[in-house]
């Protein structure tokens, strides 16, 4: 085989667009035609489920959409499964956003969760309120922790929040739980101004944030961490409500195996061609 068309060289110098095309295919096909392969549930998700499952009708949860819309794609299954579980437990929910794009998420949540909201008669104003974009920066988070009604006067539609279950909320002490669904937009501000003071918090964060968020689970600032879309899929399995998470797990399996395949052939190519050329 002449030096130019050496098989090892071909493996070592794969055109990156072939890799892109293959990844595109192995993700799109299972979305168009799901297979539903088996899935194991991790300890992190079991701990997260335990915290949410212990909520009751007289608990009030601050449900923070701390994400651009793009990040929502990764934690969508965690958001929907968590909201479903909170509604089933009858706990009250105040939904707040810390990024302008997150304001588009609540309407989509409620259209997806319409079945469980009707079943539990979960009504606006009585059981849940959408506060909208009330956390544009750290200063807003800090002042809401010290004097909630000093900062938040209206819900997202501009109607006063007086007279709703939020009357009982004055500062950081009054929330039964803060559930943060985060791509890291404002999560550290919540750690500083709520978590550090002792407000119980859980977080469903994107994969990128897991290594830097885990230390806060260790130090007890977060009671539990639901890891990325994989955690959402496992939570869907635990609450027996298949959704976008479980549907995505096939794509995950194929995507990861495709990348592992590339690592193997790249190393074969490396040792067969690049290393030998360097030695010559």
């Amino acid at each position: 085989m002449s030096e130019e068309r050496n098989i090892f060289r071909m493996l070592a110098e794969i055109d990156r667009r072939i890799i892109y095309l293959l990844l595109f295919i192995v993700v799109t096909v299972p979305i168009l035609r799901p297979i539903a392969m088996p899935l194991a549930v991790s300890p992190d998700t079991k701990q997260y489920y335990k915290v949410l499952n212990s909520l009751g009708p007289d608990d009030t949860v601050l449900f923070v959409l701390d994400t651009e819309f793009s990040g929502y794609m990764e934690i969508q299954s965690g958001v929907l499964a968590s909201a479903r579980l909170i509604i089933e437990k009858g706990a009250k929910m105040a939904i707040a956003c810390s990024h302008p794009e997150a304001t588009g998420i609540p309407p989509m949540m409620f259209s997806y969760l319409r079945d469980v909201m009707e079943k539990y008669d979960y009504k606006y104003g009585e059981d849940y309120v959408v506060l909208g974009y009330i956390f544009p920066n750290e200063a807003a988070v800090a002042s809401s922790a010290q004097d909630f009604h000093g900062v938040v006067k209206e819900d997202w539609r501009g109607r006063p929040i007086k007279g709703t279950f939020l009357d009982g909320i004055h500062d950081w002490k009054d929330w039964s739980l803060i559930a943060i669904f985060s791509t890291g937009v404002r999560s550290d501000a919540f750690i500083r101004h709520y978590g550090l003071r002792g407000t119980p918090m859980v977080i469903n964060c994107i994969g990128v944030m897991i290594p830097t968020t885990k230390p806060y689970v260790d130090t007890g600032i977060f009671k539990a961490l639901l890891p990325s879309m994989r955690g959402g899929a496992e939570l869907e399995k635990l609450i027996n409500a298949p959704g976008p998470g479980l549907a995505a797990m096939d794509c995950f399996t194929f995507g990861h195996y495709l990348v592992i395949f590339f690592i193997i052939i790249a190393n074969i190519g490396y040792f067969g061609y690049v290393r030998r050329r360097a030695e010559r």
Binding site: V27, P100, P136, P215, I221, P244, A248, C251, F252
Partner: protein
């Protein structure tokens, strides 16, 4: 599914595939269309939501009797002078105030969350608990100590310090491998989420497939006819 839903689905799928066209390796008018659409409407969204925040927290706050917030509105208007050719120095006062408050908010707690808590979380019994816990805790303790010596800059790394920093660096590369894998999972989840958004509910699936085929075909035709370069905005 109303005609409006159909139009939204078509625009979303087509623009998304135009954005993916950057993977083709050459900048194209298709990518420019998607990019400029996103910048335009995205910037509009930023304006809307921030003006709303100024109204809700500032104006409503003042109406509710918190007169001091007028200072916020006045200082805010002063910030706008930053782009004035002659009076740009007026913006320095509000910026100084916002910076001071911003630094205080970040710095007053970071000594706890980023320093003391990290050390305290590492100080754990190393000889109790099951085998896995003992192995995990020893590894973390040793890793933290060795890696920390890598980040010393005002001392020459010689002798035992050099060994410790080198071992720490190898430990870091093991950490990088694990963190890289976690990051890939996160990004893959975003890509899968995007495609799910474009393919749910099921009637959107043919639109998605059609957009893929059309955009790919357009890219290749434009590339082969040399129009790709001519129709792409220059920086």
């Amino acid at each position: 599914m109303t005609p409006l839903d159909l139009i939204i689905a078509i625009v979303a799928a087509f623009l998304s595939m135009c954005m993916f066209s950057t993977l083709y390796g050459k900048s194209s008018p298709l990518y420019a269309l998607a990019e400029e659409s996103y910048i335009g409407f995205g910037t509009g969204l930023t304006v809307v939501v921030n003006v709303l925040y100024i109204y809700r927290t500032g104006i409503l706050g003042i109406k509710a009797g918190n007169w001091v917030l007028i200072l916020g509105i006045i200082l805010g208007i002063m910030v706008l002078f930053r782009v004035h050719p002659k009076y740009d120095y007026i913006a320095r006062l509000p910026i100084a105030i916002a910076l001071g408050a911003g630094f205080a908010l970040a710095l007053r707690t970071t000594i706890f969350t980023g320093f003391l808590d990290q050390i305290r979380a590492t100080i754990v019994p190393l000889f109790s608990g099951d085998a896995q816990t003992i192995l995990y805790r020893w590894t973390i303790a040793l890793c933290v100590i060795f890696m920390l010596t890598f980040f010393l800059y005002t001392i020459e790394l010689k002798g035992p310090l050099k060994w410790s920093a080198t071992i720490g660096e190898y430990m870091m590369y093991i950490a990088f491998g694990a963190i890289f894998a976690q990051t890939f999972m996160g990004r893959l989840a975003l890509f899968v989420g995007t495609m799910q958004y474009l393919a749910t509910p099921p009637w959107k699936k043919p639109i998605l497939v059609a957009s893929m085929v059309i955009v790919l075909a357009l890219l290749i035709v434009l590339d082969k006819t040399g129009l790709l370069e001519r129709w792409t905005p220059e920086e």
